[in-house]
């Protein structure tokens, strides 16, 4: 098992290396010129040249790439070419915000999607199955920006039961930073009022973000359970006299969710990119809004750093997914040997 995990981690490294190189090349070959954006419209050619020289933008592309890789490997993600502040500073503050949102959304999607898929399969072609299909199709078809605005209109404006935007009430202030996750930090500080407020702020963006994930998790679980129910070992377990609930909820489900769990890894990528739109609408101070700003201002250092951090998070999540799969199905780890 330890070997299996190590192997998964080692396999993630070349992917991350490729990611750094690819994004670097991409940000440098697009027509946006960071020097021009930085210097402003009235800049003279001499000023432009001076800025290019300062940031090394006048060097050949390969040389810039090598410099960049060297910096990344030494743990230095550089400074924003706008604020001049180290990019890492900004990311340390914003990453937990995005992770908190995506993890809660993932939790909702899994916590609701798996039981929904299971019930749908056990009620094959029954009313619950139809309801689940409606949710699945709807969840994938509804645009998240539309849903976000609708939820804001209903719950924040009309009913006025949930906050419209932001991560926490400004009047209350953020909990003292330990992990950067407000849910954790407010608990650590023993501030239940902050915890409740954080949850209230999380509700609408998390629901918006989780819906497509919930839809596909429910679908995968449903088809996994239906497929498993056809297996000989289910018939055998029935003959052996297993309890009905245990048979469905544990014996069948554990087989069925191996596909779902693999799906969660892929889904996480979709969640993070979905977070960009959701963060923008709910004014969530996460990586998504930061990335949008960076793109609009051609702040390539910030952009590269965000991509790398998201890539690392994605890789970590996928290693965790692989481990989870191996724990659920012992054959997975065996096959790799």
């Amino acid at each position: 098992m330890a070997r299996y995990i190590l192997r998964r981690i080692l396999l993630a490294l070349p992917a991350l290396f490729g990611l750094v190189l690819l994004t670097f090349v991409l940000t440098r070959v697009i027509p946006a010129d960071p020097a021009a954006t930085l210097a402003g419209d009235a800049a003279t050619p001499a000023q432009l040249a001076e800025i290019r020289a300062r940031y090394g933008l006048d060097r050949p592309l390969w040389e810039q790439a090598v410099t960049h890789m060297r910096q990344v490997l030494s743990g230095d993600l550089g400074s924003s070419i706008f604020s001049g502040r180290p990019v890492m500073e900004e990311i340390v503050f914003r990453l937990p915000a995005t992770l908190e949102l995506t993890f809660v959304a993932l939790l909702l999607a899994t916590g609701l999607g798996v039981p929904l898929g299971l019930l749908a399969a056990l009620n094959h072609n029954g009313p619950i199955d139809h309801l689940a299909r409606l949710i699945s199709v709807g969840g994938l078809a509804i645009a998240s920006f539309w849903l976000a605005i609708m939820l804001q209109l209903i719950f924040a404006m009309d009913l006025d039961v949930l906050p419209l935007r932001g991560r926490i009430d400004v009047a209350l202030g953020a909990p003292p930073t330990v992990t950067g996750f407000f849910l954790v930090d407010s608990l650590l500080a023993g501030r239940l009022d902050l915890l409740v407020d954080t949850l209230r702020h999380l509700a609408l963006p998390a629901v918006t973000l989780c819906l497509p994930g919930l839809a596909s998790i429910a679908r995968f679980t449903r088809s996994g359970v239906l497929e498993t129910l056809q297996k000989d070992f289910v018939l055998y377990a029935q003959a052996a006299g297993y309890g009905r609930v245990r048979l469905a909820a544990i014996y069948v489900l554990r087989n069925a969710v191996t596909v779902t769990v693999a799906q969660i890894g892929l889904l996480f990528g979709a969640l993070i990119s979905g977070a960009v739109a959701v963060e923008a609408i709910f004014d969530w101070p996460g990586l998504g809004t930061y990335a949008v700003q960076a793109i609009l201002s051609a702040d390539y250092k910030a952009l590269l750093a965000v991509t790398l951090v998201v890539g690392v998070v994605y890789a970590v999540v996928n290693v965790l997914v692989d481990v989870a799969q191996a724990l659920i199905d012992p054959r997975v780890a065996e096959q790799v040997k």
Binding site: D232, A237, Q238, G241, Y242, Y251, R254, P330, R331
Partner: protein, 319 residues
């Protein structure tokens, strides 16, 4: 012990009602062994599922009873019979859940149907694993199915069938998925264990060789009806039903060359009237298509559902 009386099973399909079993009557005495033989599609599996109480959804049972230890387990689906009837499935590769340990899967059934604590169950299971000659019985509890060979898995399933102290063991061609050597070992083990514990055994197979090795009595099933029943030796040595005679003619051990029976087993949705074998029967008479032949008793509990059982088969049919 177990007696199936006049059991009929129907399944509604898109192409009409499938008559899977029709007035099937057979019994397994206490400590006795009965083999049920027939080609695929004759209703063997449905018979097993009816006995095990796991008939598929949409199945109707218009007539019949299954008496087990004096109670009709068909009418009273109560779990009382579960655990008292052990089941050995056909395919040891597909019948165990790949993501649970062998111990966990068997203990789950014991939790419902065997007295005692989990610790008792584990101790008992380890003992059973030893009895079925699994290597390293204690460690086997925590192994996953894929860590066993096919023969070992079948041993595991035999242990599972015995785990709740059954009075009857029902086996569904338990050796077809195994190679011949393993097959022989498993059959010997099964015979030895059931005899030592005084268990009744209902053994479904399509293999007369296996049948002769395991069962005292036999019931030959054709298209959902019992064609012939009797002591295994008597039926094998002197088959009376034309179907049994031709089937035995088909068996490579008994005939010089393999004679197929002309025609195919009728679809369950389109069973012929009268005797179901008559469209393929070399002895067919005009009356065969009209009347269902009754079981005619011969000597020693040997009975046959054919009024023309005394006639010789024409030469080409026997080759």
């Amino acid at each position: 012990m177990l007696s199936v009386e006049g059991l009929s099973v129907r399944i509604g399909t898109g192409r009409g009602q499938a008559r899977i079993l029709d007035e099937v009557t057979l019994s397994v005495p206490r400590g006795g062994t009965l083999g049920v033989v027939g080609e695929s599609g004759c209703g063997k599996s449905t018979l097993l599922r009816a006995i095990l109480g796991i008939l598929p959804r949409g199945t109707q049972v218009p007539a019949g009873a299954i008496l087990f230890e004096g109670r009709d387990i068909l009418a009273d689906r109560a779990a009382s019979a579960r655990g008292r009837i052990g089941f050995i499935p056909q395919d040891p590769y597909l019948s165990l859940n790949p993501v649970f340990t062998a111990g966990a899967q068997i203990l789950e059934a014991m939790r419902h149907h065997a007295p005692g604590t989990r610790r008792d169950h584990k101790a008992k299971l380890a003992e059973l694993f030893r009895a079925v000659q699994l290597p390293d019985p204690e460690a086997a509890l925590d192994k996953y199915p894929h860590e066993f060979s096919g023969g070992q898995r079948q041993r595991l399933l035999i242990a599972a069938a015995l785990a709740c102290d059954p009075a009857l063991v029902v086996a569904d061609e338990p050796t077809t998925a195994l190679d011949v050597t393993t097959q022989r070992e498993i059959l010997a083990l099964l015979r030895q264990l059931t005899a030592a514990r005084g268990l009744s055994l209902l053994f479904v197979t399509h293999d007369f060789g296996v049948l002769a090795a395991v069962c005292e009595r036999v019931a030959v099933l054709y298209a959902g009806r019992v064609a012939e029943t009797g002591l295994t030796r008597a039926v094998l040595d002197d088959p009376r039903h034309p179907y049994t005679r031709m089937l035995l003619g088909c068996h490579p051990d008994r005939a010089v060359d393999l004679t197929g029976i002309p025609g195919t087993v009728p679809a369950a949705t389109a069973q012929p009237a009268g005797c179901r074998f008559h469209p393929r029967c070399p002895l067919v008479q005009p009356g065969c298509a009209r009347e269902v032949p009754p079981m005619l008793p011969l000597a020693e509990g040997h009975a046959v559902a054919c009024p023309f059982h005394a006639l010789p088969l024409p030469e080409p049919a026997l080759a």
